[in-house]
């Protein structure tokens, strides 16, 4: 868990960053997300590493971002 001030990912780099995080850390689950002050907050989980990953995307279209995450993780 980071618990630090997170870097906001620009919307046009979102999928690129997401794919890298998923691949490098064997992320297999999407714990949840919500629209926050600076865009959309996502909480991902890797059961292999027993670790959570936090991302903040600088875009407020929460539904669209969530559905792209689910698609990437084949949920």
């Amino acid at each position: 868990m980071g618990d630090q001030e997170l870097r906001v990912i620009p919307p046009d780099r979102f999928l690129q960053v997401l794919r890298r995080v998923v691949l490098e850390n064997a992320v297999d689950s999407f714990l949840g997300g919500f629209p926050c002050g600076r865009g959309t907050f996502l909480l991902l989980h890797s059961s292999r590493l027993n670790r959570d990953f936090e991302l903040v995307i600088g875009d407020f279209d929460f539904q669209s971002i969530s559905s792209q995450v689910r698609q990437e993780l084949a949920l």
Binding site: L6, D28, S29, L31, G32, F34, C36, G37, S47, V56
Partner: protein, 345 residues
């Protein structure tokens, strides 16, 4: 609580059904924005009325990280005892509802009587019967006095005697076992994919439990193992829930035995630091993971609590298609999913 608005059958099997919408729509998140930390903790418990302590504790942990506040060891012990007492509510409620699915008479009222006894103890110790409101920043709203520790010992002893009597009636009852066996098997791959932790995960061979895997509170100071099964059916979930009750009682006893000398650690003033903070606590249905967003004005801008229920709820309308109509309520209730803290589209 789960309600169905429509159900269609093909012969003896469920063809389709629709969960009742509306119960899951709650204005809680909006309400909690920009609240002061103490009020926030009281409201956080409303996230799940069966597991309010876990909900409050997960948010308290996130707030304490933001305030860079270290909770004293004795307060960690007190909170962990409160959380384990409260876990008994979810567990006996789950066991009672599972039995109710096959017969309204079969030891159901005795299960709910056990639940009532936990409610009475919570009221006596913390002031709140159902919504316990025990957690405050840095500890418990009402810290334990020496007499309270003895009260808890007495509660465990008496409650366990009644529990064992009840358990002996249901544990190996052949009619019950035959009804529960093989119903609603959840494969481990589905558990991993949706992080469907708690009773469901443990019964399918995924023994994820935040008390062990994300150590917090006083759990790192006690030795324990979480129960696990592998068949993933309603019977395995029932057996795991029975073992979870035994584990909670044992944990309370161990925590009481190792309870440290009280050290005063009152929180006078809290200043939150901007950023995102997470906290977690194990409920019967798995860990609640809280996320707080604290803005540059040092106020809480957003709060969310994520649960296994939220992730599993959208799956139910597909998962239960093809289940025997006679087994429908058992299949559904054996998953222990609550509509209360879920989200449906």
């Amino acid at each position: 609580m789960i309600e169905i608005s429509r159900m269609d059958y093909t012969g003896d099997f469920v063809k389709s059904f629709r969960l009742k919408r509306g119960l899951e729509i709650r204005p809680l998140w909006k309400k909690m924005e920009r609240m002061d930390p103490d009020s926030l903790l009281i409201w956080a418990e409303r996230f799940d009325s069966i597991s309010p302590v876990a909900a409050g504790l997960s948010v308290a942990m996130a707030l304490e990280k933001s305030a860079k506040f270290q909770v004293s060891l004795s307060n960690q012990y007190s909170r962990t005892i409160a959380a384990e007492i409260n876990r008994l509510v979810w567990l006996v409620n789950y066991l009672g509802n599972s039995l109710k699915s096959i017969s309204p008479e079969f030891c159901v009222s005795a299960a709910f009587l056990l639940r009532e006894k936990v409610f009475a103890t919570q009221e006596e110790l913390f002031g709140g019967r159902v919504l316990v409101q025990s957690t405050k920043l840095g500890g418990l709203r009402r810290g334990f006095a020496l007499g309270d520790l003895q009260k808890i010992r007495n509660f465990v002893e008496q409650w366990r005697a009644q529990w064992r009597e009840w358990r002996s009636l249901v544990d190996n009852d052949p009619a019950r076992v035959s009804r529960f066996s093989g119903v609603m098997v959840v494969p481990p791959a589905l558990v991993q994919k949706y992080s469907w932790w708690g009773i469901v995960g443990k019964s399918s061979g995924v023994a994820y439990d935040s008390r062990l895997h994300r150590p917090y509170g006083a759990y790192p100071h006690v030795d324990f193992e979480v129960p696990m099964g592998k068949n993933g059916d309603a019977e395995t979930r029932f057996q795991v829930a029975l073992l979870e009750v035994e584990l909670s009682l044992t944990l309370i006893e161990k925590l009481l035995a190792g309870f440290p000398q009280a050290s005063l650690h009152e929180v006078k003033e809290v200043k939150l630091n901007p950023g995102f903070y997470t906290g977690w606590a194990e409920s019967g249905s798995g860990p609640f993971v809280s996320v707080l967003e604290v803005g540059a004005d040092c106020m809480v801008h957003s709060v969310r609590i994520f649960s296994s229920d939220q992730r599993a709820l959208p799956l139910l309308e597909k998962m239960l298609v093809g289940v025997r109509a006679d087994d429908f309520w058992l299949a559904l209730n054996s998953l222990g999913v609550s509509l209360e803290n879920g989200e449906l589209s």
